[in-house]
Symmetry: D2
Subunit: 349 residues, 4 copies
Amino acid sequence: MNKKIRVGILGATGMVGQRFIQLLDGHPQFEVTALAASERSESRSFQEACAWKLTNPMPDWVKTMPLQACQTPLDCDVVFSSLPSSMAGEVEAAFAQAGYPVISNSSNHRMSVDVPLLVPEINAEHLKLIDVQRERRNQKGYIVTNPNCTTVALVLALAPIQEAFGIEAVIVSTMQALSGAGYPGVASLDIIDNVIPYIDGEEPKVESEPRKILGLFADGAVTPADFRVSAQCHRVNVSDGHTEAVTIKLKKKATIADLIEVMENFQGEPQKLNLYSAPNRPVIVMKEHNRPQPRLDRDLEKGMATVVGRVREDNIFDFRFTVLGHNTVRGAAGAAILNAELLVAKGYI
Amino acid sequence: MNKKIRVGILGATGMVGQRFIQLLDGHPQFEVTALAASERSESRSFQEACAWKLTNPMPDWVKTMPLQACQTPLDCDVVFSSLPSSMAGEVEAAFAQAGYPVISNSSNHRMSVDVPLLVPEINAEHLKLIDVQRERRNQKGYIVTNPNCTTVALVLALAPIQEAFGIEAVIVSTMQALSGAGYPGVASLDIIDNVIPYIDGEEPKVESEPRKILGLFADGAVTPADFRVSAQCHRVNVSDGHTEAVTIKLKKKATIADLIEVMENFQGEPQKLNLYSAPNRPVIVMKEHNRPQPRLDRDLEKGMATVVGRVREDNIFDFRFTVLGHNTVRGAAGAAILNAELLVAKGYI
Amino acid sequence: MNKKIRVGILGATGMVGQRFIQLLDGHPQFEVTALAASERSESRSFQEACAWKLTNPMPDWVKTMPLQACQTPLDCDVVFSSLPSSMAGEVEAAFAQAGYPVISNSSNHRMSVDVPLLVPEINAEHLKLIDVQRERRNQKGYIVTNPNCTTVALVLALAPIQEAFGIEAVIVSTMQALSGAGYPGVASLDIIDNVIPYIDGEEPKVESEPRKILGLFADGAVTPADFRVSAQCHRVNVSDGHTEAVTIKLKKKATIADLIEVMENFQGEPQKLNLYSAPNRPVIVMKEHNRPQPRLDRDLEKGMATVVGRVREDNIFDFRFTVLGHNTVRGAAGAAILNAELLVAKGYI
Amino acid sequence: MNKKIRVGILGATGMVGQRFIQLLDGHPQFEVTALAASERSESRSFQEACAWKLTNPMPDWVKTMPLQACQTPLDCDVVFSSLPSSMAGEVEAAFAQAGYPVISNSSNHRMSVDVPLLVPEINAEHLKLIDVQRERRNQKGYIVTNPNCTTVALVLALAPIQEAFGIEAVIVSTMQALSGAGYPGVASLDIIDNVIPYIDGEEPKVESEPRKILGLFADGAVTPADFRVSAQCHRVNVSDGHTEAVTIKLKKKATIADLIEVMENFQGEPQKLNLYSAPNRPVIVMKEHNRPQPRLDRDLEKGMATVVGRVREDNIFDFRFTVLGHNTVRGAAGAAILNAELLVAKGYI
């Protein structure tokens, strides 16, 4: 058996950091060898510093691991980052400069022209940006990012439609889970018996990231796809699982059956390469009239699928449907781990 | 002081029936003299038959009132109806035939060509349909309806925009309160930690009613307004107050300031006539970046206003904004009572 | 490999029926061969008749199984019953009379003098009541019951204490989950932003069942334990997992360390016999100052353990602590299945 | 008309500070002339610094008031304090030393031997401690405190029982509202689908304060009542309103009817003096089998009453019942204001 790849986690005590640990527990390729967090936590054990909030208990092996500062060197081959954006920009760049592959869930570098915004089922081709990045920045390490949690769920549903019929415009209204705001995040008094019609910084991400993800790589750069996205983002009283109401205008004619068919048949590199964390069905289309629902459907495919439902014709655009994605699994830690698995398979790690 | 108008309530024990009783408690023009409900409740006192669910305690005067059958005659001058649609069609028609003005919150007759779908601030002119109705049906009584709870909140925001700039298309995604489903309504196990992306029969109502409400009366009929509406309706874990994410395309150019101005200045017959239940401001525009929120804002103007927030430009259509309305006050019982007050002022009662 | 024991489920479409199906999916000893439900569901497939409410998806094998009437004969070797108490009394007696072992989660027969109220870790000895029952009722079949969901969690914590130190009195205040009321059960409008300080029929069960369970079998009968229980039961906004605040008076002196030790070391027949559904630790004692919590701890030992926390001295009685149990797993379907596994091991099935 | 008494609020931006402002809006005797908060807020306007969380909108008059430092002098005749306990000890003592009457909701000074822990219906006599305090501390100002939110609700129900029958022991298990933890307070991820069986510092308060409140003043000191209290405190998903399950042992015999009678007839100085914020009925006893409930009953008597229900015999102690109190009205700001009204009536302000 091969030796496992050694992983460091930046921002290990946060909500996404905890998901990294849970999802890497028993992973066949990776083993966690270093944990880093903010200065406040430094030199404490993980168990002391972390308010563990997942329903799966904290794995034993992580409890006594010490928390280190978020700076090089760390005893690992690759770093996973879920740092807050106030720190991620500089810290991730420093690790990449020091030679580490940085698999980031943070937003800071997502839109940089030489950084892949990777969804392995969709744009594995964009990994070629790594070479561009290394050359431009004159470094051996590199940064690869995954999209915003709301974007991932949406773009997995959009990708097969874009490929088959071309997308002209997307209007999306989201109902997002509490865990998306981290911990402590949303105050209970703000969400009991309530909806908050605003999430700081969210709408611009949802409106820009899909275009880069679905863009074409050519001549060392990604040209964004030419459709437009309009997003209105809301926080609702749900623990995990973002629900999104999508209305879509296509370039070519299609039927409901066409749409469902391309989504259900959608497969990408992770499925072909049989990556460990790859969902069998990246897009699941439910036929029940009142699904998907976050509590019932967020854990399908272990939280790695986008679940689509209520696909129907629209009377202004062409179609509308509901999208559900697990925001801290496929929308964050799971996305980063799948990215890392692809990087291994492609020889980048 | 004039003698009060005697009111009968059909469906008195339901969620909307309870709101009728609460809002008519102490009303200067109306007094409740008859209560009717389904057969199950007949001949019991209101207190015995009703699972009172409002936070305002049940008024004393209603406790010992007997529940009667939903059939003529009832000892009253006018009936308010919040019957379930399985009963409302026939029962309301029978009361109108027997000479009663029927102020209905039920959906059955809303789209009938000779029945006003009334929002007093918007289409008081549509009351002329009463004469058409009386003549066509050869009866002295008549039916007047108020819109669906989601529609009222939306259309109050749309009316001033339609008048000033013309509307081409509206895409709306709703997050609706539990009380909209009546009692017992939504099971707690269905909504805890969850969103339900479907409400039976709701979307067609939201897509058709605004066009009739904003339509023009001429030659004895209402011609629907010519814009299109696309609605996706969701249930969320909120007791009262529907939140709606609206994206809108206009016929004429406008600025954000224009939109806010026409909404804030919107006034109609209820304000001019100083009707008892009329909100001072039918449309309130909030400037805070994260408002309106149902728990904080649903009771503004005693629940009779539409609260608008986050008015901003859209990158596909022209504008988008958030709308909030109290679904059992302005969206149901309060709407019907305001309708009745207008009917009194106009001499129809 | 042995042929599996064929199981029929009475009340298959309810919340506990669904748990039976989920927990029997892949069970090494049992296979479900018959489903029965109320008349309303008869002759429909399970998928058509059942509003599946578990987060684990409905197993494929159950979807097309037909629902039969709740009457003999059913094509099975043993029946599991989670019928409502309005039906369970007669139906279960009829199945036992017809020769079936009836493993019941219903309350009707729990306190009958010849029916075991079984918690396998505690009173496996009570199975001898089966012989008494068969003889008295002159039948080959029999009824074995498991306790009320609140009782199971409590009594697993009490059993080691009773054995070691003797219990004089127990005062318990519960905070019970929504799933305990079945589906649709508690209306969402009743529990949002609320606590309901009453659960129909619950307190008498919690006050009587523990004494029978911890009673001694001798001369063909169980003599109830001589302590007293006082219970106040509340419904709170939690999906699964009953939390209980316990204050306890002992007969002998003990220290906190003593109490924790006997609870942590508690083992019974299921552990000795290594039964399939047996928790390794029937009682888990948490040391954190703010645990157990239903969302974080209800699934420990796959929902089959009682989780105890905050063990501390009391200033009126001797000790107090918090108890948590999964009400539809160890508190219902899981309890019945463990009972059946013990019956198989002891040769009764 | 007399000139109003000028009030300063220490901790004006917190949850209780907001309640002070709401309850003093339109008060006939007091007007707010100074607001103080932590250093972070200083020199900002109230509107800028305060995250207003009440459903009643922020009064206009408070919006532009500047926030000052929590130090003397403040332009007012009396200060109301809801400072966090980390600040309250020193700051309140300093204001009293500087000559201000300090009406405090903070816990720091509650158990001091020369500080009244005042519930005006119960122990107006304890105001004589003010003279003791002034003399001992050689100051003109003084501190008067109100109890912890859980204690107030409980002790109002206990007082008439203690007077009539004598109390031997009280075991109480609480289900407490989110607003009791202030803002942001409890994280939404901690309470969704959950109960937290621990509230920092709460149980010792509930176990000690009632004995002082119900103690006798004689010879310049309060001798605590001689009953014992055992409390287990839990946080549940409720916005406002603490529910408490009480089991009680009496010194003299009583019937259920006796208990209800003394509670319903309970009146004290606020009722006799007809104080502005006094509830007509300080203790309301509900007869319905499933009340009180926080959402439905917390606002009875404008949140100034204790609501009792389910009074019934206990099978270990003598009686048990459910208690509900509004934790930020009668349990905090409303209690302090009622205290101030009594102080005015008795000539201390």
